[in-house]
Symmetry: C2
Subunit: 500 residues, 2 copies
């Protein structure tokens, strides 16, 4: 019987390997599609994506898969197999609980709706998108019912992106965070001395920006023998396998912040994927454990390292040596403050680290209410604008810079947004824990990122999906989700910058 089990485990691993092969091919195609593909090649390529995705999906919902789950889950021979089976079972159930016909209709609606969203956004006309969004919300409600939940229907969706996190927890945490953040933003608004990021907008040729960001990636410990850096329109990091994790960026020659902070952000994602324990290779565990945990890694490097005073004390001379003449005239302290300007604004992806989470909460509150049928899609634009005014004191002039700005909902994704804010809070909690073991600022100031990277790998990266997000948080920080650390970080940092 034990022998039989080992044989079954070998076969199960074979099945996981097949799945991984499809996913690796798909990841390469996605990378190419967003970095290299010639314009005319994309049409046919999307057929290939459709075909390979279907093959991968079929494997995940196959009778073979079900057979191994049933055979092995009562006595897996190690933790790796046990967690792989859990992941496969969750996915199997998630996919099989939806009637095939509904899933097909939903998929078609998603892709149609994304196209409509682009048009609606260009036209600033929410009404174009409304009927599609209504259907997408209905499908998500139906799916949530198929999947089941304990207390709140929205929990069923949340699990896909942040397993273990509940609506109850988010309501509590977000409320505290919101109060503190709106208070802080108010203080910033009233500050008399404000940094001015306009001084940063000087021409900086791409080649110099590339040189600087490449150097920083190397110093972070990003392994260029297991990755590469390319240009794209909407930057991302993507893992083809743990030995091939690619970063992309975008150079704005009139504003280096896009490339510098963007590359470091994506580099944080990439470090996570590059440093997963090799033993997890070729299983569904060889990737980041959740969206939020992934974001914690990118934000740790972007905000807690690269936007810190310590970082620029060390790197400003290097930056100036690679930057054009006009940057040489900017005093260090003006520069540091300028890259940390806080300014409530309309667009989430342009938001600073203090206001960003407020953008997320607006989305969270609205999508939670939609899924629980407390509000209607048609009322979204007005509700959006009201919340923007309440939390950020700015009001969009058109839906284009309001409710239509993000792709997520039109792509059918509800429950995803909270991950971004969770990432901020996780990162702050990790930062605090790391500070107990070493003086982080001192390490950053001395340019010794190796110790930091090592700590992140030991505590977070290596585990992949072997541990769930809240499990990692608890082990590393000795407590649960707690927004205080983020608030304290922001208070401390910005009270200096804004003298408030």
């Amino acid at each position: 019987m034990a022998e039989y089990n080992l044989q079954a485990e070998r076969e199960f691993r074979g099945l996981l390997k097949e799945r991984q092969a499809y996913e690796e091919a798909l990841a390469l195609i996605q990378w190419d599609l967003r970095t290299k593909i010639p314009a005319k090649g994309a049409d046919q390529r999307s057929e290939v994506i459709g075909f390979l995705s279907q093959k991968s999906y079929q494997l995940s919902t196959s009778d073979r898969m079900k057979h191994y789950i049933d055979t092995l889950k009562s006595r897996p021979s190690n933790e790796n197999i046990k967690r792989s089976l859990e992941e496969c079972e969750e996915e199997y159930n998630r996919n099989r609980k939806i009637p095939e016909q509904e899933f097909k209709e939903f998929t078609m609606l998603q892709s149609k709706s994304e196209t409509v969203w682009q048009k609606a956004r260009e036209a600033g006309d929410f009404k174009l998108l409304q009927p599609y969004l209504e259907k997408l919300v209905d499908y998500n409600i139906k799916f949530a019912e198929y999947w089941g939940y304990e207390k709140n229907r929205y929990d069923a969706l949340l699990q896909i992106y942040e397993p273990g996190v509940t609506t109850e927890l988010l309501d509590d945490v977000f409320q505290k965070l919101r109060t503190s953040l709106t208070d802080l933003v108010e203080k910033v608004n009233q500050a008399k001395q404000k940094p001015d990021s306009a001084i940063l907008q000087k021409h900086f040729p791409k080649s110099g920006q590339e040189k600087f960001t490449t150097e920083i990636l190397k110093r972070m410990g990003y392994d260029f023998e297991a990755g590469r850096l390319d240009e794209t329109i909407h930057p991302f990091a993507i893992a083809l396998n743990p030995q091939d994790v690619r970063v992309t960026t975008r150079y704005d020659e009139e504003d280096f912040r896009m490339a510098v902070f963007g590359t470091i952000h994506e580099g944080g994602h990439a470090l996570y994927e590059q440093n997963i324990n090799e033993e997890l290779a070729l299983t569904p565990l060889a990737t980041g454990t959740s969206m939020g945990m992934h974001e914690s890694q990118s934000l740790f490097w972007e905000n807690f390292v690269a936007r810190s005073e310590a970082f620029w004390i060390n790197h400003y001379p290097l930056f100036q040596s690679m930057a054009p003449e006009p940057f040489k005239e900017i005093a260090f302290s003006d520069f540091y403050k300028a890259v940390n300007e806080v300014k409530p604004s309309l667009i989430r992806i342009e938001a600073d680290e203090m206001t960003y989470s407020l953008h997320i909460m607006i989305r969270y509150e609205l999508e939670k209410a939609l899924i629980n049928e407390e509000i209607e899609v048609k009322d979204l634009p007005e509700l959006w604008n009201q919340k923007m005014e309440a939390y950020l004191k700015v009001r969009p002039k058109s839906d284009r810079e309001g409710v239509l700005q993000d792709i997520h909902w039109s792509a059918g994704d509800f429950g995803y947004f909270p991950s971004y804010a969770l990432g901020y809070m996780y990162a702050a909690q990790f930062h605090q824990s790391l500070n107990k073991e070493m003086d982080v600022d001192e390490a950053v100031r001395s340019g010794d990122f190796g110790k930091i990277k090592h700590w992140l790998t030991e505590n977070i990266h290596q585990h992949g999906k072997l541990k769930r997000p809240l499990e990692i948080l608890k082990e590393v920080t000795n407590e649960g989700l707690n927004p205080e650390y983020l608030v304290n970080h922001l208070k401390e940092k910005y009270s200096k910058i804004y003298r408030m």
Copy 2:
């Protein structure tokens, strides 16, 4: 019954589409592997290649495939379906006639042998490779017997690369060609005035070379919206689909000829794939009809266009404007002659257009004799060297620059080499036919490549595999394979350059 047939045709087309999806994914992986992949990523990627290749192979030899072939071949509704069925049936038979176990062993031997070849070549030690080559020859003999042939066992292998061409035909044509070429080479050797290619070896930065070759690709009609140009070690062109055909090149800053003639050569291959009739898309017919025909297209552009006096009359000023100072001092006539230097040498891929075919004939004679068991693998090095002396008057000092220089045999490929020389002859025949319709040199001199590209597309490219190579040759030139045109081209061109 007609309805049933149409339904079966639709399903057959669906099957072809699936096959094409695997092949397109594999082509992208191959391109990436040779241009972009980080060093550590390759190991896992080769597993993915293995998996997807197996899936594609399984489709081509599946019972579903056999079913459609049998159902449809008696009355296909159009020529496209008819020829697709023929291609599928040939492939099905070719693969199914080999016992599965033997095919597996052969595939493993191939990959092992390629690795051994690299070591043997580095060490210049043929004995390392010999046992592998012996087995590979044995397999090829067995396979040829499974596949069958009419007159010569070697024909069975030739069909894979150049359908319709026989050993009998090659023996006849190559003998004529050899006599003429050795005679011409003899004359060149005795010429008193010889061009000196050393004058071309001046530092030429990569960026300038890239600018020039990109401009030439555009003028040739290569569509950059359906392709791109990247760097690699061993340049190639690859079609992912007809809307995405990529060219690669290599820049040698001390010798621009590598990139300039190499890119134009690969551009010729790419033009073929970019201009196949759209109606053939997603069938096995949407590619070049044979290795030889493909080579005719690359060589047409490389030798009959880019190495012509007419080409440089037009493009030398452009070249000089993009090249560094020292090139400005080289007189046009010295430059033109230097890029056409003829010099018998040891390495095939470095050979000039006059001696190249002699390199091919040596390989042809040896592999034909091996497959027909007239010589033994162990005698290859000595036989190689003897033939080199007889045909080219040079003798390798080591097997590294002799029998070990090419990868083909160690990769298990026998019957492939003749295609290169066929490409030269086809190209010369096409050149002659085109000359009847327009003054090619005049068109090249005026930079009007559009007319030339149009003629190649109309006569060759668009047909893909709908027509077989000798069928195209006959239709375009009104005769069969004839080496005279190549000989005449060389005589005429080089009697001027070498005043002989």
